[in-house]
Symmetry: C2
Subunit: 306 residues, 2 copies
């Protein structure tokens, strides 16, 4: 399989750069032909930079309802027992709840909301499903960094996502200040696949969600990308949305400030781009981290839960 | 001694807040009477916020000469053997060189430069000497956070600096972006002394320069200060200078970006505020971290070296 893999990674030898083999805007004819809620200049900007920050997409009261739903899910005994929740070892406080598009009618509806799904369809031009969803809560003071990575590199290597036809949306539930460890992105980095050095350890996901060790670019690779594209800090009020291509290089610094960070996170993938066997040759990650058995379109999921 | 200490800290009991007992602007009559290079509105701003960021104080060629001097000092065998240099355990790369106002004519002149010393005198209204000096080089990618702290809390507890009549100046040799772990300050926090909980371990300085564990405020204390004053990120080009009061609460996040950070750092103290016995009751820190035996005015030091 690896001989035909357009995006080989987790290499025994030194990492390298491979030009992106897939379009960013998946309409025949590209950004000029894509139609949907985003105006043409923003589609162009997404194609060029690999991401967009949209302010005021959700109202204060909507954001409040998302926060309340996070609280409700955090206290749900069934979810706590499902393992689809990440808690602090010491305090038991909830840090992430996964698969929220399947276990919460509110978040299922949110994933299918035209303000999000309409834009995803405008870029990906296919029926869509949610590859991964979660809601995160990171307290202040001791927020950890997340090192530079391309999501696609992991989804391809560990989940078997074949091509670059997916994107992420992060809906801010708290304000992203420049100083509380906001997402940082390298504009234009989505046009290069960074094949990384180092084979995947068994059950890598158990530690990689906290600190990624394999699948990360070298210093020289990051320096080159940032030297060409610069670094953008994604600041924004609660209710703002960051939309970013599956292959854009991103990360975040730690956070010693008292300002916590919380967001709802959906990965939209094209149905035609559903996972095959993982390209690293290992067992796939669990279903709650990467959907593969229960792939349903957004409408199917929403209809089932409502 | 501690019964009369206006700023008790390193307490066995819970930390607490104590109103500042000293002026910020040390002229009789305060900021209205202070004269020197800073215009009156900036003196007022320093009094209110506890810090100032001055752009373009040094030219590109001056900054270049500071960088070259850092390189020269890093290679100086005598300094390497003096222990006044901090290197990476693995690579041996230089991270900090201390006491640069005594072992480099260039930096001695810089400490006495009217653009810096004139402002320090305008605020502190006394003959001045350098309590601590250093030049720092922090590479990108793996830059560590430095948690919230007041410098005065350490200088008082560990060095025996009696009162709040000192300030720091940090001259940027690299650009401070919002994303490469720049200094963050809490405006107005210099008006409260945060008495911290926890006694000082022996030879605390050996680890505290890398990661401070005692002498740091509690979450509640930081939350209260930041809630009242907010947080300011000190961005600026090479050649810009951050001037901050000895008691302003500050810290910095880590840095995963490729952009390194380097600065020249001087602590100006009033001669009348020279150290006594450390208020934590332990031995004082070494001379290269806190001057006490070789206190000389700026002019005396500059004259001796040139």
């Amino acid at each position: 399989m690896s001989s035909q893999d357009p995006y080989p990674s987790r290499l025994r030898e030194k990492g390298r750069s491979i030009p992106r083999q897939d379009p960013v805007i998946h309409w025949p004819g590209g950004s000029d032909r894509a139609h949907g809620p985003l105006e043409a200049s923003l589609v162009k900007q997404f194609e060029t930079d690999g991401f967009l920050i949209l302010e005021d997409l959700f109202s204060t009261s909507e954001v409040e309802s998302f926060r309340e739903e996070l609280l409700r899910l955090s206290g749900d005994q069934e979810i706590r027992e499902s393992g689809e929740i990440i808690t602090e070892p010491d305090s038991g406080e909830v840090r992430s709840v996964f698969r929220i598009h399947e276990n919460s009618p509110l978040f299922s509806d949110l994933a299918a909301d035209p303000r999000l799904a309409g834009i995803a369809a405008q870029i990906l031009n296919d029926e869509l499903y949610i590859h991964q969803s979660r809601v995160n809560y990171k307290p202040g003071f001791r927020g950890r960094e997340f090192y530079w990575h391309s999501d696609f590199e992991t989804w391809h290597s560990e989940d078997g996502m074949p091509r670059m036809r997916a994107l992420s949306m992060s809906i801010a539930l708290t304000e992203n200040f420049e100083y509380n460890g906001p997402l940082m992105l390298i504009p234009g980095s989505h046009k290069t696949f960074i094949a990384t050095e180092g084979e995947t350890p068994e059950e890598n996901f158990k530690s990689s969600l906290k600190k990624q060790v394999v699948g990360v670019p070298s210093d020289d690779q990051v320096r080159k990308l940032a030297g060409e594209g610069g670094i953008v800090t994604a600041t924004g009020k609660p209710g703002s949305v960051i939309i970013f291509d599956c292959n854009v290089m991103h990360g975040s610094n730690g956070n010693i400030t008292p300002e916590p960070r919380s967001n709802v996170f959906f990965v939209y993938n094209a149905m035609s781009n559903s996972p095959v066997e993982p390209f690293n040759g290992q067992d796939p990650r669990p279903e709650y981290i990467a959907t593969r058995k229960t792939i349903r379109t957004l409408k199917q999921t929403a209809a089932q839960l409502s």
